[in-house]
């Protein structure tokens, strides 16, 4: 199959179907409603489930129920809607069910705006709901990568029995780009007989299954939390993904940037190179687990004077960048947060201002 021109939101919907996910629940919100519109047509064609829930709270639990009984399931929403799903994310994580959540991030806080943003970084990587849980968070930089990440998300969610979040932004959802869809994934979800409530009759063993998150006994709760932590630690070992750019040069500045704005940074780096000024970039593709080691190593290069976190927020990822750099280099931040994406020129000026400091 060749490349086709597709809007990000629709491509995300199609990618889920090709990943063998035929169950979708959602509530409309700009800038991602096209996913629901697209899947309201497509799911019936492929014999799948489409349901518009009464709220994002309900949708979160529709996912919990469906995932709990062993189905591949996903939803899409945008920032205020994801806030309402925070409770369900906490429960689903504790009950160890696989499910995929896509956040096409818009500006916040509050109603914020409907333009692109990365201001849900903390919400996605540090919590959003209560308790000791983590999501595996992936951040695409365009429509093609959004498709690939959605298709990777389901097997990863099943591997870890944990929710996976795709953190996009309003621009990725709205823009049209040429995409090539990978082959269909095998549509049968992994074997869930040892934990899912898929009905005792369908299983070999006579044991009934429980999907739950209550542990009233302190020891049992702590043991449960250790099990969860072990999974998050395993993610840190096995799932870190990032892309280095211009890293083999004697760069003076290291940019850390992800998602749509990393593409502007790339242009800025190319333009600076033409001036003879080398700048490199680490682009995290997973935000949790975060590419801490790669950033630390890149920052430690002798030529590197400063590390800059460039993001569409008022300074969120920069905290993880600082944590990764371990004080070996000064860490600066540059961000925009109203919905305007900075131009390469603006980024070039910012980078220059940090080296002449």
């Amino acid at each position: 199959m060749g490349k086709i021109l597709m809007k990000g939101n629709e491509a995300i919907g199609e990618a889920a179907i090709r990943a063998g996910c035929l169950n979708y629940f959602a509530y409309p919100i700009t800038p991602q409603s096209e996913v629901a519109e697209y899947l309201s047509r497509r799911m019936p064609e492929v014999g799948g489930v489409f349901l518009q829930g009464e709220s994002e709270i309900a949708v979160g639990y529709m996912l919990f129920g469906a995932a709990g009984c062993g189905a591949r399931v996903f939803t899409t929403s945008s920032s205020p809607g994801i806030s309402l799903m925070g409770e369900a994310l906490s429960y689903i994580s504790s009950a160890q069910c696989p499910a995929v959540f896509v956040n096409i991030v818009r500006g916040g806080p509050g109603l914020g705006g409907i333009l692109p943003s990365q201001a849900d970084y903390f919400q996605a990587t540090k919590g959003g709901g209560h308790g000791d849980y983590r999501l595996l968070v992936m951040a695409p930089d365009g429509v093609q990568e959004a498709v690939e990440m959605v298709m990777m998300a389901f097997p990863l969610a099943e591997k870890y029995r944990n929710p996976v979040m795709i953190l996009g932004d309003g621009l990725i959802g709205q823009m049209m780009e040429p995409v090539e869809f990978p082959d269909h994934l095998k549509s049968e979800p992994s074997n869930k007989d040892d934990w899912a409530t898929n009905g005792m009759d369908t299983r070999k063993s006579n044991e009934r299954n429980l999907v739950k998150s209550l542990f009233l006994n302190a020891e049992l709760l702590e043991e449960h939390n250790r099990v969860l932590k072990a999974k998050y630690d395993r993610m840190k070992k096995e799932e870190v993904r990032y892309e280095p750019y211009n890293i083999d040069t004697d760069y003076q500045v290291l940019i850390v940037s992800y998602g749509i704005i990393s593409r502007v940074c790339r242009t800025a780096i190319d333009n600076l190179k033409a001036e003879g000024f080398e700048v490199a970039m680490i682009r995290p593709k997973t935000l949790f687990p975060f590419p801490e080691k790669a950033i630390e190593e890149a920052a430690s290069k002798d030529s590197c004077k400063v590390v800059v976190s460039i993001e569409l927020s008022m300074g969120q990822m920069v905290e993880d960048v600082e944590r990764s750099v371990h004080g070996k280099r000064p860490v600066q931040w540059f961000g925009r947060s109203g919905g305007d994406i900075p131009t390469p020129e603006e980024i070039i000026d910012v980078i220059k201002s940090f080296v002449t400091l």
């Binding site: 009905g199 005792m200 429980l210």
Partner: protein
């Protein structure tokens, strides 16, 4: 000698954590008997609420999921939509269903989701120590209405069976009580009918059960039953509020 009064297969051997005289236990038994009689234990998924029945799964012997407070109907929707062959029920208290989870139950009922809800109305938040619920009777004292429910201040108790019956979508909605054998017999019939509608793929079904919470009412089990009969049944009238057949006759 043959046992004549056996424990249903769907019920486990465990002692429950419920207080003496609490009607949760009676309701568990009725549900288990119905599941046995319908022969669906192997494809049933129950959903436990947040409330005194949060550990309900310890007393049943089939698959269970544990919801967040009020969200059981959304979970049941998720399960039933992706696995229509499973028999799904939610088990919910009045705080769970009529307060924090009102949105989920109304919309599940209105979409005509093909699951069954067992709604335990004991007029208080049992688990958290007897606070006022949306179903607390006028003048009834609770830990958060120490002078008695003031309807000028917080409105009248919500009649769930009537409220949900007002929806235009066909459904089976019934209210029964679990306080004395004559009521319990009718309650079991209602539960069985509700599950049967689900098995036939007909409609959403909800059985409201007028129940007791002797502990938080500060009454003995016997007093609690008397109080229920004298005070609750005149406000929460028993009977079938809606059947899907009603819609076919129109």
């Amino acid at each position: 000698m043959a046992k004549t009064f056996k424990k249903p297969e769907a019920l486990s051997d465990q002692h429950t954590h419920y207080c003496p005289g609490c009607t949760h236990g009676v309701i568990h038994r009725l549900v288990a008997e119905v599941i046995d009689e319908l022969g669906v234990r192997g494809r049933t998924v129950g959903i436990a609420p947040v409330g005194c029945a949060v550990l309900a799964y310890n007393y049943f012997t089939f698959d269970f999921q544990e919801a967040a407070h009020g969200r059981a109907p959304a979970m049941a929707t998720g399960i039933k939509r992706v696995r229509p062959d499973l028999v799904v029920f939610t088990y919910q208290g009045d705080g769970d269903l009529a307060s924090i989870g009102m949105g989920e139950i109304i919309h599940s009922a209105n979409r005509g989701e093909k699951f069954t809800t067992i709604f335990v109305n004991n007029t208080v938040y049992g688990m958290t120590g007897g606070q006022m619920a949306p179903t607390t009777l006028p003048g009834q004292k609770t830990t958060t209405s120490p002078a008695g429910r003031d309807v000028e201040d917080v409105g009248m108790p919500i009649k769930i069976a009537e409220l949900i019956s007002a929806l235009e979508t066909p459904a089976y909605i019934v209210r029964q009580a679990v306080i004395k054998p004559k009521y319990i017999v009718r309650a079991k019939k209602a539960i069985k009918k509700a599950f049967q509608y689900q098995l036939d793929g007909r409609c959403f079904s909800l059985v409201e059960l007028v129940s007791t919470c002797p502990t938080n009412w500060g009454k003995t089990p016997v007093e609690a039953i008397k109080w229920t009969e004298e005070n609750m049944l005149s406000y929460y009238k028993l009977g079938e509020y809606k059947t899907p057949e009603q819609f076919e006759e129109d």
